[in-house]
Structure formats: C-alpha cells, structure tokens
C-alpha cells in the first residue's frame, strides 16, 4: 500500500498540492485523473522521490520514501515520467536492460536477461531491439520506456500518461498488459490517464485530483458519472453504459447530442 499523509507542495510560491491524504491499495490499477495542473504529475514525482517532499510523509509498503535508501526503493518502486526524450544514443535492448540495474548492479545474470526478453516481448519490441531510440517513432519510444519500467520488476509502478503518442491498437494493448500484470502477478500500477474511458474500462480504482486536492475517489462506476465528472472537470459530460463500463461522451456537449 502507498500511504500519503498530509502532503503539500509548492513550486516557486505556487501551491501545487495541499494536504493530500490518500491510500493507494496494493495490487491492481489505480487511475489518477483530473484537469491540467491538478497536481497529478507532482504527486507521482513525490511518491517516486524525484522531488523532495516539502511537507507530509509518503510510505510505500511501510518504507518512508524520504528515509529509505534510494537503491532499496529502486527494487520496490519505479516511475516513468512524460518526457521520454533522450540525448544518449541507446538501443531499445540497452534501455530495457538498464531497467535491471537495481537488481544486478552492473553484472547481469540469466534471470536479468530473461526479464529483459519478457519485457521486450510484452511491449511487442522484440523486432526493434537493436534500433537506436532516436530512430523510433514517439509511440515506439514510449513503449520502450514502459518496457524498461516493466523489466525493473517492482511491486509498484507509477506511469505518467503512458498512453501518450500511442495509436489505438497499442494503447489498448498497453492497458491490457498492465491489467494482466496487475491481476496475474499482483503488481500495483498508479497511472495518470487523460482518456477517462480508458480509466473507466481498465482501472480498479480511480482517484480524481483538482486544484491540488483529492476531489473524489472510488470505483470507476462511482467516479465516471455525469455528476461527479462535472465536479472534477467543470464540464457537462454525458455518460452512457457500454459493455458494462461507464462510457463518457466527452468530445461533444450533451445538448448537441441526439
């Protein structure tokens, strides 16, 4: 479980998060939703110790992220941020291989190679393994980075908009792979998702942030409703039920519909 207690954060005097209290369950997919600037990315960065905590505490399976050795946390928790631009010329296999670094510290063994191969296969990258990252499309590069995070094989995986740049096919496959890893291997994913319908269809739990505070949380069918989406996004969105999932028709205003 990730326990977030009373976390506040400011960047250059601007309040980004104020008094966040959250418990993110172990196992399954938690979707973080909310309008731009709600503090979703900052919250992920704080959980993953990429930014220093200014106030409050965060514990991952009981380990305080600001007290625990960073090398130890690297075997518990991994994060992928939005920016996947890399100056270094690495091949896909190099990059995914570095995901194993917390485990082998420079001396990869058979177990490490197997994990890398599996991560490459999961993200359908086996054929691209020797390509340099700068010779990949944005979506392929995104998948390579997700594969690196999967190779790290941590219990907790934080993904900031992993569906960025992905076409429909790969976006759906990515969410299906995450769900499989969550339910078969017991992994926990915290995923920032902009497409509310992906959250509705794949997440076990949704947390909505707004203006640096938790606006709502619960099961997809509790959060993806016309009333609750209006509160979160200040937008009137019609919600239908399709194949048992709530489905938000957010592209169109309700009045022009029908």
């Amino acid at each position: 479980m990730i326990e977030i207690c009373n976390v506040s954060h400011e960047i250059q005097g601007a309040k980004i998060l104020s008094g966040i209290d959250l418990r993110l369950p172990k196992g399954g997919i938690t979707a973080l939703i909310g309008p731009n600037g709600a503090g979703k990315s900052t919250l992920l960065s704080l959980i993953a110790r990429l930014e220093k905590l200014q106030g409050g505490t965060i514990r991952v399976d009981g380990a305080d992220v600001s007290q625990t050795a960073t090398a130890e946390l690297a075997r518990k928790l991994s994060i992928l941020r939005q920016d996947t631009q890399v100056a270094a010329r690495l091949t896909v296999a190099d990059l995914v291989g570095f995901g194993r670094y917390p485990h082998h510290k420079g001396r990869p063994g058979p177990e490490d190679h197997a994990q890398v191969e599996q991560a490459l296969a999961t993200m359908a990258l086996t054929g691209l393994r020797d390509r340099f990252l700068d010779a990949l499309s944005g979506g392929q590069r995104q998948r390579a980075f997700v594969a690196m995070v999967l190779a790290q094989d941590t219990d907790y995986v934080l993904l900031d908009e992993p569906l960025n740049n992905l076409d429909m096919k790969h976006a759906r496959e990515m969410m299906q792979q995450l769900r499989r890893a969550a339910h078969e291997l017991g992994k926990s994913f915290v995923v920032v998702i902009h497409d509310i319908n992906f959250a509705a269809a794949y997440a076990d739990h949704i947390v909505a942030l707004k203006d640096g505070a938790v606006q709502a949380q619960g099961r997809p069918d509790e959060i993806v409703t016309r009333a609750s989406l209006r509160e979160i996004f200040d937008l009137d969105i019609e919600v239908e039920t399709v194949a048992g999932h709530p489905f938000a028709l957010h592209q169109i205003t309700p009045s022009s519909h029908r």
Binding site: A74, R75, D83, L90, F98
Partner: protein
C-alpha cells in the same frame, strides 16, 4: 560475458603497429637488432629515455581524454561538450599558473593538485551556467562553454603577461609530446587509473545519460555519480595539461564517432573510444614528426586542424542525426 570481438582485436593490432612505428620514427635512426643484442649503446638509451615514454604518454593521453569526453557528454547530456569547450582545460591552466607563480618550489604533484582543483571549480561553474540554459538548445552549450573558456583563458593570459610566464602558458595550452622524457611523464599513469575507474562505472554514467529521473528511479545516487564523473574529467584534464598540454577536440570527436557507430552504452563504447583516442593521437603525432623532418609540428596543432574539421562536419551533419 562476450569475449573480445574480431573488430576489437583488429583495432588493437592497428594500435600496436602504430605504437611500433611511433617507437622507431624520429630524428635519430634506431637499430632494433643492436638494441636487442644489448650493444645498442645510444640507441637503447634513446628508446628507453625518449621513445618509449613518448609513445606511452601518447597512448595514455589518447585513452584518458577520449574516455573523459565520453563521460562528460553523459553527465551533461550534450554531445558537444569536452574539456576544451567548457573552460575545464583553461581553468587547469590558470590553476597551474597560480601554482607556478605563488608556490614555485612546490613539488609537481602539489602544483598538479592545484590545477586539478581549479579545473573542478571551472567545470562546476560551467555546470551551474548549464542549468540556466534552455534544455532544448544543445548548440548553445558549447558556445557558452567556449565563451567561458575564453574568459578564463584571457584572465590566465593577462596574469601570465604580468608575471612574465607567457611562455609556460603557451606550453600548457598546446599539446606537445616532444618534451616527454623518462622521469617527466610518469604522473600520466594516473590518468590511466582514472580511465579505468570510468570504465568500472560505465553503467552508472550511461544511466545518467538517460536523464536524472531515470537515474533516481534506477536507484543511483545521482549527485555521487555526477561528482565522480566530474572528478574523473577534471583531474584527467589537469594531469594532461600539466604534463603534455591541452589537446583540443580529442574528447569531442572520438566519442562522437564512437557514438555514431556503437551508441552510448558506455560498457561497450569505452573500449572503442579508448582505442580510437590512442590511435588517432598516435597517428597525429607520427604525422607531426614526419611532415617536416627534422623539425616537429606540435600534435595540438595537427589535432586542432583535424579536430575542427571533424567538429564542423558533425555540426553541419546534425540534421540527419539526433545529436
């Protein structure tokens, strides 16, 4: 682990041939047979006192500057960075000048330490400036670095002029191996040790090259690795400046060529950078010795001409590669 690849063996053979050439090219003709028979007399002396130290110094310099450049480029995530485009070499020169002026009686190692300290300070200043530059303007970085180097170099020149030490400064800023004699280059072996340290930490530097976030996620102590790289680069530069003089562009073009072909996984790239650095430097030194015998052209000049040509090529060819 993979054993040495065929390519690597070929590269090492080339290197060996060039090292052999380097031993036997010079104003005095050596008779190898006589030396081996033990009645070489002066020939053996020349070999032991001048030719072998010179060749070893060239190889050590080539290896360590190439690896330094590679590491520096990973730390800054910029392909146009090397000790002579960041003020590091100029700072080392300034430090040495200060040492010679204020502590003329100090042992060489102490002078070198001061030069290394100044190189570290200069590099830190450069990194501080780097933080303030827009991240998506890679070409701005070497420009600003060259300017910083120019300013530090100007301070050093003014100081040297006032103190009548201009001649020294000239020696430090132009790499030259003709002065390398037994007893006057051994400190360079330290650069070999630093290069080895660079290789041992190759994975960490590669990960730093992916970015700060990736480094932290993978459990690296970001600051510690940054400092280690900074130390390797600065101390290597200071050692080279003190013993043979700065070799501009070596740390720039070698890593760029290797990166184009091999990529930036340092575990694989470091051996190639090392052999290419040593090979290129040997080649330039041999050219410098042969072109207008019995006189020599300083290697810094030869490499400067060659290096700036390649640098320009890399700059202009940037469009087709995401440098």
């Amino acid at each position: 682990m993979r054993v040495l690849s065929l390519h690597m063996i070929l590269a090492l053979l080339c290197l060996l041939v060039m090292a052999g050439l380097s031993l036997f090219i010079g104003v005095a003709d050596l008779d190898l047979g006589a030396v081996l028979r033990g009645d070489g007399g002066d020939d053996a002396l020349i070999l032991l006192v001048s030719r072998i130290p010179r060749t070893v110094a060239i190889i050590l310099t080539g290896v360590s500057m190439a690896i330094s450049g590679l590491i520096f480029q990973m730390l800054t995530r910029n392909k146009f960075v090397e000790p002579s485009t960041t003020g590091t070499a100029e700072s080392a020169g300034l430090g040495l000048l200060i040492a010679v002026f204020f502590f003329p009686a100090a042992p060489l190692l102490a002078k070198m330490a001061l030069a290394a300290g100044c190189a570290i300070a200069g590099t830190l200043l450069f990194l501080r400036i780097l933080d303030r530059l827009p991240p998506h303007e890679p070409l701005l970085v070497p420009l600003v670095g060259l300017m910083l180097g120019g300013v530090i170099g100007a301070v050093a020149t003014f100081f040297a002029y006032q103190a009548d030490l201009l001649q020294y400064l000239g020696i430090w800023t132009t790499g030259e191996f003709s002065g390398v004699l037994r007893g006057r280059y051994e400190i360079l072996w330290l650069t070999g040790a630093l290069a080895l340290a660079g290789y041992l930490y190759a994975d960490q530097f590669s990960i730093l090259g992916i970015g700060r976030d990736a480094a932290i996620t993978l459990g690296l102590n970001f600051r510690a690795v940054m400092w280690l790289g900074l130390l390797i680069v600065s101390v290597t530069t200071a050692l080279v400046v003190v013993t043979v003089g700065a070799i501009p562009f070596l740390g720039l073009i070698v890593p760029n060529i290797v990166s184009r072909i091999m990529g930036d996984n340092l575990r694989a790239a470091v051996p190639w950078a090392a052999s290419l650095g040593a090979g290129l430097l040997l080649f330039c030194d041999i050219i410098g010795r042969v072109i207008r015998q019995p006189y020599e052209i300083p290697i810094g000049t030869i490499f400067g001409v060659l290096g700036s040509a390649v640098f320009l090529y890399l700059l202009l060819g940037r469009k087709s590669h995401a440098v």
